[in-house]
Symmetry: C2
Subunit: 398 residues, 2 copies
Amino acid sequence: MKVDAERFLADLHKLREFGAAGVGKGVVRPAYSKADIAARDWLAGRMREAGLTPQFDPVGNLFGLAEGASLLLGSHSDSQPEGGWLDGALGVIAALEVARAAQEADGPPISVVSFEDEEGRFGVTTGSAVWAGSTPLEVADGLTDRDGVSFAAARAAIGDRSGDFIDPARFTGYVEMHIEQGPVLDGSGEKAGVVTDIVGIRDMRITFSGQQNHAGTTPMHLRRDAFQALAAFNAAINARFRNVVTPATVWTIGHVGLHPNASSIVPGRATFSMQWRDGDSDRLNRMERIIRDTAEEIAQAQGMGLSFGPMLGLEPVAMDATLRAALEAGAEAVAPGNWRKMPSGALHDATNVARLMPVAMLFTPSIGGISHAFEEDTDEADLVAGLRVLAEAVGRLR
Amino acid sequence: MKVDAERFLADLHKLREFGAAGVGKGVVRPAYSKADIAARDWLAGRMREAGLTPQFDPVGNLFGLAEGASLLLGSHSDSQPEGGWLDGALGVIAALEVARAAQEADGPPISVVSFEDEEGRFGVTTGSAVWAGSTPLEVADGLTDRDGVSFAAARAAIGDRSGDFIDPARFTGYVEMHIEQGPVLDGSGEKAGVVTDIVGIRDMRITFSGQQNHAGTTPMHLRRDAFQALAAFNAAINARFRNVVTPATVWTIGHVGLHPNASSIVPGRATFSMQWRDGDSDRLNRMERIIRDTAEEIAQAQGMGLSFGPMLGLEPVAMDATLRAALEAGAEAVAPGNWRKMPSGALHDATNVARLMPVAMLFTPSIGGISHAFEEDTDEADLVAGLRVLAEAVGRLR
């Protein structure tokens, strides 16, 4: 089963033209924009030329269907408001090329998908979430974007392209190729990452309430400074996590809001985000215990009020053993000793599709780890290497 | 020399009626408001009744002048947008009562002043700053309040009340009584604080610039997280200051701005305020050295860019030894063993007046340390005790 690297790269560059940002290889192709719909129409044509039957569902997910039972490959072709040319587009075009190569080599039947609104103009991975049933359509329809446009109104752009939802039972599994969107493979020089699991996420707001005071007249020992409580919490968490985490665990305080946030006033209140991600639910829970206990200890020691906001929780998704083994064998065939197993720290459509069928994921390097930016890029040799890994894996699954 | 506590308290309550907020003892009497001008007209009348010659200067500072050389007592009668009934008003009415008592007892000649816009509708302690020459009038005239009204336009409310600026040479010194606006005296139960110095202030913005990244795909060891740099800076500063500071030294990180300040993004930039206050210029300078060195060490260790904004600097003002000794003797006479020497952590009109003549300050307790709020209050027995300390001190200065 032989892929055509030139045809693959030509299609990838052609897709970039829809919404080309005029800055480097940047792309502006958010879900349901004119550029997004035009790109999907073009993709539908390429699917038909590849002998697949293109079909839109009611939320704009575009499938290119093979006859009978098939393996589903793909990703998404919408972009961030300021996005790169690869992101989900890479996985869609790679799927298209592997489907063509499989047909030409009389290989296994391959269907292709481009999910809609993975980038979350409305929700999070909205198109695949609706298809997989994680988000009911009537709930999704009530979501609005930053300009107040509803999902229901936006998806009307699909118009009479829309058919029914595709029955997931026709697919034997789903494999998604994607850029890593992180610095690991670029840093190590490895050509591919076979994903072990998509990490789970916990995210909550924490608030310390102390005493707002005059920064001149309030002695240090009489202060209840909410920023100092936050700083003490951060230091304690960093120390206590050491015994619990793996090198793949991440945690972030990305949002901080002090009140009243003025240089001459001792902060009376600090609200901040605490987010942590790991592939193991037990570890996520142990970290949550440490976070809550530590915040309570700090609050007690520093005379603070303490409140926790609601916790967002997404469970880790383990990749299917058979599909993953095929990707590992493919990686070893294409780049012997020069690939790795790794978790996905980001969410992907595969997270939703895992509710319906076995899933697996393959990463290619991201230069500098940069994504969701016009600067996003990957060496074309690495893109082709990734494509070959995917084809090798599919060949092993027949 | 015997003060009349009832007359003093009656005047203090009368002054509160101008701009009474309708919430507790709260007052809304910002500089040049109708309530402020009406209060000054009433004060001018009370000065005249006390045998003083009332005189407004071009910025609305109201003097009640004794004949010949005199000691100047007072403070300010404007309030914060949401202020308390005491703040500067206490010092003005106490001055008025001591002037009356001195006349009745054939004591030393006492003049009275109520400075204008101490609360900084336009600048910082604007009225006394213009009188003392720290802020030239033409510079002050260009200042605007939050609504864009200029100082020049606002002070026109003085109208034909305005006379010339008063020659400071007619005053032998200035003594300002004020509420502490901090928790020290209220906490210790002491009746009075004799100010040793008004602390100096240093204030600057510091920015750490790291690398904005995806909070899921960026491993901890590859992050350059600007919030973590800020937290490390805060911890190091707190540890290193221990060998340098006194119990009266204060420092505050009151403002923090992260960029982009989102829970799923490793912060790329942290801009924060660093403010420190102390009565000793050398100590302020040593602290500045520690702050700059520590920020540079953290930036180097964590791979951060570092920039310092311009530094605001106000030098400490030592109280005059003779005036201060008189206040100490007065405090010991009124509340033996139950008063203290202490720095003023806040700025006051005395800071400016110190450019013109010897100055000293006396503090009375603030319940809960609360000021610049409708809740601001002091037990009336403590107000009267403070008045008596002031009168005792003045009696010793004849």
